[in-house]
Amino acid sequence: MTQKEHYYPVHFLQAMTTIWQREITRYRRDRTRVVSTIVQPVMFLIVFGSGFRQTLATGLGMDFLAFMYPGTIAMTVMGVAFFSTVSTVWDREFGFLKEVLVAPIPRTAIALGKTTGAATMASVQALILLALAPVIGVELHPARIPLLILYMVMLSLSVSGLGLLVASLMKTTESFGIVIQILIFPMFFLSGAFFPLTEVPQWMEVLSNLNPLTYGVDAFRQVILRGDIPPEVAHKIFLYPLPVNGLFLLGFSTVMVLAAVIAFNKKS
């Protein structure tokens, strides 16, 4: 044992999945979080499905519920993804981050493990919402579900990446919470989830063009509604070609993860 038996290079993927797996294990062990994953979308849909449908008239030329449903998914994904990346701040506060940072693994594997961990939890939440679609009267063509899941995962990765970047810059849970609070509302309102972004002031458009949620909501909407609504309505509410949405989300995730890696290196 004095002489090292072998010199094992740790594979990038193994390091990343180890980090990822710990996130999942911790999540499964936290009953409150598991229960809230299921309860939160159900509650939302009950309120939303029964109340809004009658009270909100729309000038969209389409069912308001169908218009809102993609936004609901996006909002849920955003909430869970952000909340899950707080684990990095906890790790720093409770000292576990040192154990990770002293290990012979690339920082990028750490950041990707953390991001995919949070994205997994967010995607699971989105899948539950997807399963609830028939209950509130949104019809989904089974053939579109794989594409929808793909975009859910991409949105989850983008928001988790942003959350990780914030987490890697923050020392305490409190400051992380404040920054996330500040981010959540503008991100949601500038995403087009509640009102279409085709007729908004220029400054809003610029901000919404940088908002990953915009692309997520747009993609969800197109996948769910395409072909079911008249072309002139589609022209009014759809923003980008579907692949553009995908590319933006992937690009955004990449930039965020890289920025988080740089922040990690700076901090230590």
Partner: protein, 320 residues
């Protein structure tokens, strides 16, 4: 063979020179101790050696790898037990070990055997399925040590491994550490500010204000003080000091209401002295020098005085 070579290692935090051009070597298989008061720069040095803090200057080689240029190789070669807790309290003991083993690339087929080996070493085998949150402070510390060993490092760094532990647990931990040294010839680099623990080390470096002020075996360090320490209490200590200074040619220090000095062979010297001395003497004490005395003579301060007032139990373990 030197397994650690430190050259002019320096760390600045703004204006503060936390580690000041420190150079030393550690031999393979020895227990090397860093001794010094709070804020001396012990943890900062260890953090640089463990590659989690970038030096402001200088370099160090561990197992032949540079801590600046070959970080991953260094990280593979070392095990680290941090001063502050670093376990995942929500995972079980075994899960904490598995996480670590996978990050260090321990082969799957070796993992079970090694996990059992290190958990038995620290007497936690029976608790392997328990969530760490339910562990006592001492059990957590032992688990951290087991974790630091599971990838068979060349060097194990222990930053104040016994802080906040009760005396029995401290003694047990030392049993483990000595067992590691004897059974596996592992190199152990530790910091402490318990003088009695420093006695277990093969060599110790005394650190103060970011500098190493002495480095030798505990015996040699104490020998430097010149044999035995004699302490005499007297109600007329000023008069006594004058008389003694007249008779002896060693420096005599006042310590509270007593006088203290060092002589070569105290057992023979003391009876002679007491026959001759004129001034009234209340009590005499003859003892071997401790590392405390070494520290005092090197820095002019007592290491204990630097600590928190509740030093009886040892300082609490937590984030600074």
């Amino acid at each position: 063979m030197d397994i650690i070579e430190v050259k002019e290692l320096t760390k600045r935090f703004g204006d503060l020179l936390a580690v000041d051009h420190v150079s030393f070597t550690v031999e393979k298989g020895e227990i090397f101790g860093f001794l010094g008061p709070n804020g001396a720069g012990k943890s900062t040095t260890i953090s640089m050696l463990a590659t989690i803090l970038t030096p402001s200057g200088g370099d160090a080689m561990i197992s032949g790898f540079s801590i600046r240029r070959q970080r991953d190789a260094v990280r593979h070669s070392i095990g680290m037990v941090f001063q502050d807790p670093s376990l995942d309290n929500r995972l079980t003991a075994e899960e904490n070990l598995r996480f670590h083993a996978r990050l260090y690339g321990v082969p799957k087929e070796d993992y079970r055997r090694r996990m059992e080996e290190v958990l038995r070493l620290v007497d936690l085998w029976a608790r392997k399925r328990d969530i760490v949150e339910t562990f006592s402070g001492g059990m957590k510390r032992r688990l951290e040590i087991a974790r630091g060993l599971i990838h068979y490092p060349d060097v194990l760094f222990l930053d104040e491994p016994t802080i906040g532990l009760d005396p029995q647990t401290r003694a047990l931990l030392w049993d483990y550490v000595l067992k590691l040294k004897h059974d596996r010839a592992m190199t152990i680099f530790m910091t402490t500010h318990y003088m009695d623990e420093a006695e277990y080390c093969d060599r110790i470096a005394i650190m103060d204000h970011g500098k190493i002020v002495a480095l030798d075996t505990p015996a040699n360090l104490k020998r430097q003080l010149g044999g035995d320490i004699i302490r005499i209490e007297s109600s007329q200590k000023d008069a006594l000091q004058k008389e003694l200074e007249h008779k002896l040619d060693t420096p005599i220090r006042q310590e509270g209401n007593a006088l203290q000095f060092e002589v070569a062979d105290g057992a023979k010297f003391l009876p002679r002295l007491l026959q001759e001395v004129q001034t009234r003497v209340e009590a005499v004490e003859l003892r071997k020098p401790t590392l405390d005395d070494v520290f005092l003579s090197l820095t002019g301060r007592n290491i204990r005085k630097e600590e928190a007032p509740d030093q009886g139990q040892g300082p609490a373990r937590g984030r600074p």
